[in-house]
Amino acid sequence: MIEARETQDLNLLEDEAFRLHVRAWIEAEYPAELRNPPKRLHWDENKPWYFKLAEKGWLCPGWPREFGGLGLSPAKQIIFTEEVERHGCARTNDHGIVIAGSDLAALRTEAVLDGDTYVVNGQKIWTTLAMDANWCFLLVRTDKNAKKQEGISFLLVDMNTPGITVKPIINLEYHDEFCEVFFDNVRVPAANLVGTPNRGWDMAKALLSFERIYLGSPRLSAYAFSRLKQLADRMGVWEDAVFQDTYAKLRLDLEDLKSLYGVFVDKVRRGETLGPDVSMLKVFQTELFQRITDTMLEICGENAGLLDPMEGNRNLNPTGLYIQARPATIYGGSNEIQRNIISKNVLALPG
């Protein structure tokens, strides 16, 4: 799967040199016309970029080299993410591991070892872009008697294996981003096990700890905010002091989110492990993203009812962003779950 990986250990570069290295590569390789796409790209559009990322090892840069990653330090991963976001690159799929905080007790996929092969049965929803994927990373229950996070293993599955059925799920964006994947006696070589059997959750957790700060990054809100500005220009609402004040409040929320994000990024840079309090970022970021898009709908009049971007201009896409903002508080561990985490693991409230 991975061919021409970055050969040098990028951790050895100075931060600024690393940043320039990444930036130059993105600018050379990422198609200009796909910057800041109005909706999530489909596989056929995003494939070239995906392959380039995969080739170099950038798909999962934090993973150890033996699993196809670059073994990149958290501090370097943040710089990489910043550059990807700054450039407005399309999101790639999330490797099927967007399950942080989700209901593991009810994990509905199990694998039984049969000789040197795992036999996988069950189903999985929300696998991002699964219908386009060639491989997927799969968390499976390998020990039924263990409870919750124990007894789970991490498998790499070839999506062309017989017994796999992918059913796309149309979402509110009217776009088939999500899928339901059914596994019916799917045989996966035991060699495709990643890490230690029954310890898959530990590995997933390590990967997800980076995702948690990623979900709290101000970039998504910042992007929406910049589009709010363009929409306000178009709708001619700058004369309205009330809109100005709403805009000011959103901007200050965004700026303060950046300050708080900075506190966590500094910790990552210093090599500290992030605690559960990073959930604060996810909650505030996703709800700010929604509030920004709520404001878009409020100022755009009847355009609030349009399916497509206004006037064919993808930068004037209030309804698209509004709909895209809805699941932000649901995926990656719903905000209800994040608030449970904060109250129990940060504030030590009982029960």
Binding site: V242, E302, L306, Y322, R326, I330
Partner: protein
């Protein structure tokens, strides 16, 4: 209850029952889904039924062929139809019927009231306004379900008056844009000269009609909120997570309680406004009552609908599950006939300070 009130309550009950013919109480999204994103986005046969039921002329005087009922009945009807997601452009048709009754043009009014012709009013020149400019050569925008129109009514400013022209849809320069709920907004570049001048000044009638349309749209929002909230409650009562019915989680319970409060406030505001109009409120007091209701419906409406999605979790974000249809329709009607901000401003400008 007084006899008059009792009579009105009975008439509203009957209207609600009759709505079941198009929008069955249990909900039926199959018809609605089948019509989405396929022009004209609604069923002309059902529009015809609406005419047969007397809905299009619900508020038109009996002398002019209507049912002569009040605004309270009209909002009950639009509420029920929205709860059933009916995509037919009833509110715009009722607006056109009001104009034609005012213009005393039976040749257009009769087939409209009968549901045999779809007549839509192309009054709007920019987003988020209730002002009818009537520039002859300005494109008319955001015409709901315009792809199914047979005739457009186009108001044109002529001196101090706002003349009304009837322009046949066939051959008109009309472009369509898809709306979130699977319908279409039309932009009409009409040449009024192609049409027939049917009234010299419809300014006052159109002004009053737009207010009624705004209030009926608020009524429709109540219907969306109510049904989406019911679905959400049902979901909360059955869906399990972490081994528990999610409706037992107090944070979700309290959120649901807050949504219920907003729903109750919206209904109270809308019904109070309808009662005020039916009681003969005029001038500023009439406009203020409408704006109070529409401001609430615009603001609380979208809030409740988006929270219904959130309370459903992932499944709420799928197109397959009906609750999303309510949000999508809500997006289409939230700012129709004026956004919350517009109506808030208008209310403050018009309502007497000590109004109770």
């Amino acid at each position: 209850m007084s006899e008059v009130l009792e009579e009105r309550a009975e008439s509203i009950r009957m209207i609600r029952d009759s709505a079941g013919a198009v929008a069955p109480p249990g909900g039926d999204s199959k018809r609605v889904r089948a019509l989405r994103f396929a022009a004209p986005g609604f069923d002309k046969g059902v529009f015809g039924q609406m005419g047969e039921f007397g809905w299009i002329g619900l508020a038109v005087d009996e002398a002019a062929g209507g049912a002569g009922l009040g605004v309270s009945e009209a909002i009950a009807l639009t509420e029920e139809l929205a709860a059933g997601l009916a995509p037919e452009p009833l509110i715009p048709a009722m607006l056109s019927a009001r104009l034609l009754a005012g213009a005393d043009d039976q040749s257009l009014l009769a087939p409209l009231l009968a549901g045999k012709q779809v007549v839509l009013t192309a009054w709007q020149e920019r987003a988020d306004t209730l002002a009818v400019l009537g520039n002859a050569d300005a494109p008319r925008v955001f015409i709901p379900q315009a792809g199914g129109a047979d005739v457009f009514l186009v108001p044109v400013r002529e001196g101090a008056g706002l003349a009304l022209y009837a322009v046949p849809a066939s051959g008109a320069d009309l472009t369509l844009e898809k709306t979130m709920d699977g319908g279409y907004f039309g932009t009409l570049r009409a040449d009024p000269a192609r049409g027939k001048r049917i009234a010299a000044d419809v300014g006052a009638v159109l002004d009053a009609g737009l207010d009624e349309a705004a209030l009926m749209t608020a009524g429709a929002m109540v219907g969306l909120m109510e049904r989406a909230f019911d679905m959400t409650l049902a979901y909360l009562k059955t869906r399990q997570q972490f081994g528990r019915i999610i409706g037992t989680f107090q944070s979700l319970q309290h959120r649901a309680a807050d949504l219920k409060i907003h729903l109750a406030l919206t209904r109270a505001a809308v019904e109070a406004a309808a009662a005020a109009l039916d009681a003969g409120a005029e001038g500023d007091a009439r406009k203020a009552a409408v704006s109070k209701a529409k401001a609430r419906a615009g603001e609380s409406g979208l809030m409740v609908l988006r929270q219904c999605i959130q309370l459903h979790g992932g499944i709420g974000y799928t197109d397959e599950y009906d609750v999303g249809l309510y949000l999508r329709r809500g997006m289409v009607i939230a700012n129709q006939f004026g956004s919350a901000a517009l109506h808030r401003r208008r209310f403050m400008a018009l309502a007497p300070e000590d109004a109770e």
